[in-house]
């Protein structure tokens, strides 16, 4: 069950991890990914980054160009000249003169940015001399926003964190944490993410000022952080918490995923795996999930196999193979791997094609372990005594030589 939540939970993550921009409607379907619809879900910087990621992943062709074109348009709306140059280089003139490097625009934006920076600096200095805490906080915040928009993530992060000293209410701290988390995710600094999530959660415990949306945001961020650290279990647990509030609504939006989970719960594994298979291509294009898709899929499948065998004392392999849409021989191999891994306690009767559950005899196992531990202790202690003796001898030799 957990494994399944992981994959679906992640989708919620993406939506909320967009920071301040609420998504309109997620489109995750079995058909070929519609870049435009996908991109419409997101806005701002995330949109650009995701589009670039898709362009890189989908391996050329119309889709790549489409993605790049949209990224180009999106950047033009913003002020991030650094990213702009990168995209132009990627497009490499393939989209015609309209999508070439636009030096005039870039220069104008840069100049405007310079002016704005100066203005912000002046303002901040003024606040600082007046020692108005709230204004200083706002000043740093503005600076952070400014850097973020221009793609200087490191500086943005620094400025957001600086606001910390000037926070006066719990809400401010939460705000600061959310900003820091957002920037950290973009930078790929997932240790920062988890530390700020815990900070924000601590803060919320003190003041109870967290509304549901923020709480969900925080949990999603933590989920992503854990995912990056490959702690799938923890990621799943984090996401489970959101089940109650947002999960239901979310499911209505994505019929495939709903079906999938429904199947999983009611043990229709074949159709469940079918759905998963059809989603795979698109999940591979997701920025946070792509590295983990293979592992997660494997785990989901193993989990399903384990769950299937769990309640039975004996299982007919023919029926099981049907349920999982595979051959008996293939299933035998999969089960063999799981048994070797000690994930299923059972043995296969290859003659009659039946899987028998095996209940370990605790008493015998204990005896066996005790005797083995005793032997090991015996051996280790004697070896240690020998080494001690040798060292003692060596020491004596040396002291004799000295005399």
């Amino acid at each position: 069950m957990e494994a399944d939540d992981e994959s679906t939970g992640q989708m919620i993550d993406e939506i909320y991890a967009n920071g301040d921009d609420p998504p309109s409607r997620p489109v995750i379907s079995g058909e070929q990914l519609d870049v435009e619809a996908y991109a419409a879900l997101y806005s701002g910087r995330t949109k650009v980054v995701r589009l670039l990621f898709i362009a890189e992943r989908c391996g050329g062709g119309a889709m790549e160009l489409e993605a790049l074109r949209m990224a180009y348009d999106e950047i033009k709306k913003g002020e991030n000249t650094q990213l702009f140059r990168e995209v132009v280089q990627r497009i490499d003139g393939r989209l015609g003169p309209e999508y070439g490097p636009d030096p005039a625009w870039a220069e104008a934006v840069d100049r405007r940015a310079e002016q704005r920076k100066e203005k912000l600096e002046n303002e901040l200095n003024a606040y600082r001399t007046n020692l108005i805490k709230e204004s200083i906080r706002m000043g740093y915040n503005d600076f952070g926003d400014f850097y973020y928009v221009h793609g200087l993530l490191g500086d943005a992060f620094k400025n957001y964190v600086r606001t910390r000293d000037y926070c006066t209410t719990g809400k401010h701290i939460t705000h600061m944490c959310l900003n820091a988390i957002l920037v950290s995710i973009e930078m790929g600094q997932f240790t920062h993410v988890s530390s700020y999530v815990s900070k924000a959660e601590q803060n919320s415990q003190n003041s109870d000022s967290l509304d549901t949306i923020t709480a969900a945001k925080l949990r999603c961020a933590a989920g992503i952080a854990y995912l990056e650290a490959k702690k799938y279990k923890l990621a799943a647990r984090k996401n489970k918490v959101i089940d109650n509030i947002n999960f239901r609504n979310f499911l209505e939006l994505v019929p495939e995923v709903r079906e999938l989970i429904h199947d999983f719960y009611s043990s229709h594994y074949a159709s469940c795996l079918d759905y998963l298979g059809s989603l795979k291509a698109n999940l591979l294009l997701d920025i946070h999930l792509h590295d983990h898709v293979e592992t997660l899929y494997e785990q989901i499948r193993s989990k399903a196999l384990i769950q299937y065998t769990h309640p039975f004392l004996s299982v007919d392999l023919h029926m099981m193979a049907n349920a999982f849409k595979t051959t008996v021989a293939g299933l035998e191999k999969e089960l063999e791997a799981l048994i070797t891994d000690n994930q299923i306690q059972a043995r296969i009767d290859s003659h009659n094609k039946i899987l028998y559950a095996r209940h370990a005899d605790q008493r015998n196992a204990t005896f066996q372990r005790v005797l083995q531990t005793g032997d090991e202790f015996d051996r280790d202690v004697r070896a240690m005594l020998l080494r001690a003796n040798l060292i003692k001898h060596d020491y004596n030799q040396k002291s004799l030589r000295k005399v």
């Binding site: 070797t340 296969i348 003659h351 009659n352 015998n364 005793g374 240690m384 005594l385 001898h393």
Partner: protein, 427 residues
């Protein structure tokens, strides 16, 4: 004439002063003084030996014998001497010869060398075992003769006799070299008898023993350790335990590259890969005289793979077994399974009618009297061992050199770091 008479005088002294222990100590003094003289006169001493009784006059006999054997002699003479020494070892009194262990050891060593030269190492097996028993204060003491004895056992293939000595658990060791050789030869004897667990333990001792420079013995032991570990445990971990000397940790692996690669190839579980690797590196293993062991490693892989099947399957056809472990025919698989059932390595029954193997559980229920006795004896052993450990710990905490060294290290810390309570109360 004068010289002869002083030999006579010495003989008279030996005969007169072999009674009680104070006399013997006095005699020992005389003998030490005349040792040089005896060596000078060594050629004329042989007939004198006949005047002495090896049991009563063991110390004197030993000094004369040592002098006699110190010079080179002909083959015929060697034959005679071997008989004399063997008789002496059997007859001598342990208490007397322990006064001059160096002399006794060198006599035994020469005896061993002569026997080897005569190409009759068998003649040395029993006398050397007796010699060890007489020389060591307790069965826990390692003597220099242990290694020589085990070598003789190896060259005569008297593994069982060698094994008897190995059953005594050694704990008192003073010469590292003796210890290394003892463990190395002992390991080889255990391998010969297929006592792999014991072999592993002995070889492990060599590899992890404290040493300041790497010895050839350790390198050879490590090679065998890798192979035995694969045969017995089915795996090999390349990391050393943390108490291993830094010399070994640093450079041992450099000398054993083919063996480490072999272990690597073993861990893939693919028999064909392992076989090609062995074929390619055959020469290296032949040079190290380890080819036999390497072959055992290869065949152990079949066993390992079959054993793994017993964990996952209740029944499996011989054909499937042959396919899974890459044996050429079901017939061959049957031979392997049969052999393993016989050796008690798996519990299974073969149904020849439809070519199925039925794997069973371990029938041991831990309910028999024998098992309870076995458990009890293990507990007793552990208790004795832990008592010994405590005793050793106490002895060490009282050792002046240890205390002074530990005290010195302690001063390096700030005095404030320590509160007045001794650490063991500081729970």
């Amino acid at each position: 004439m004068v010289k002869m008479s002083s030999v006579d005088a010495l003989v008279a002294q030996i005969q007169g002063l072999s009674g009680n222990s104070s006399d013997i100590h006095q005699l020992h003094g005389h003998l030490k003084q005349s040792d040089q003289f005896l060596h000078a006169e060594s050629t004329r001493l042989a007939p004198v030996l006949a005047q002495l009784d090896p049991a009563k006059h063991s110390l004197g006999y030993l000094y004369l014998l040592e002098a006699v054997t110190s010079v080179p002699f002909t083959k015929e003479r060697a034959n005679e001497l071997v008989v004399v020494v063997a008789r002496f070892i059997n007859a001598c009194t342990a208490k007397q010869i322990r006064l001059a262990p160096d002399k006794f050891i060198s006599v035994c060593r020469r005896f061993k060398d002569q026997v080897m030269l005569l190409e009759a190492p068998m003649r040395a097996v029993a006398p050397l075992l007796t010699a060890i028993q007489k020389l060591q204060p307790s069965t826990e003491h390692l003597t220099t003769l242990h290694a020589d004895f085990l070598l003789v056992c190896l060259s005569t293939k008297c593994y069982k006799t060698g094994l008897r000595l190995l059953e005594d658990n050694i704990s008192e060791v003073d010469q590292p070299r003796d210890f290394f050789l003892y463990c190395y030869y002992g390991g080889m004897i255990c391998i010969g008898q297929k006592h792999f667990r014991k072999a592993l333990e002995l070889l492990h001792n060599v590899v992890t023993a404290p040493m300041s420079t790497l010895s050839a013995i350790a390198v050879e032991a490590y090679k065998k350790y890798i192979l035995v570990s694969l045969i017995h445990l089915g795996q090999f971990t390349t990391s050393f335990p943390k108490y291993t000397s830094s010399a070994a940790q640093r450079s041992l692996k450099n000398y054993c590259q083919p063996y480490l690669e072999l272990a690597n190839s073993y861990s893939t579980g693919k028999i064909s890969e392992l076989q090609t690797f062995v074929q390619m590196n055959r020469d290296k293993f032949v040079v190290d005289t380890n080819l036999g062991l390497v072959k055992q490693v290869v065949s152990s892989m079949y066993k390992r793979n079959i054993q793994r099947l017993t964990q996952t399957y209740l029944t499996l056809s011989l054909q499937d077994i042959a396919n899974t472990v890459q044996l050429s025919s079901p017939k061959e698989a049957e031979m392997h399974v049969l052999q393993m059932i016989q050796d008690g390595e798996i519990y299974a029954a073969i149904n020849q009618k439809d070519g199925m193997v039925r794997f069973l559980e371990d029938p041991e229920q831990y309910k028999t009297c024998e098992m309870i006795e076995h458990v009890d004896s293990s507990i007793q052993r552990m208790m004795a061992l832990s008592k010994k450990l405590t005793a050793m710990d106490e002895k060490m905490s009282c050792d002046p050199s240890y205390v002074s060294k530990a005290g010195r290290e302690r001063q390096r810390f700030d005095f404030d770091d320590f509160d007045g309570v001794p650490q063991r109360f500081n729970l």
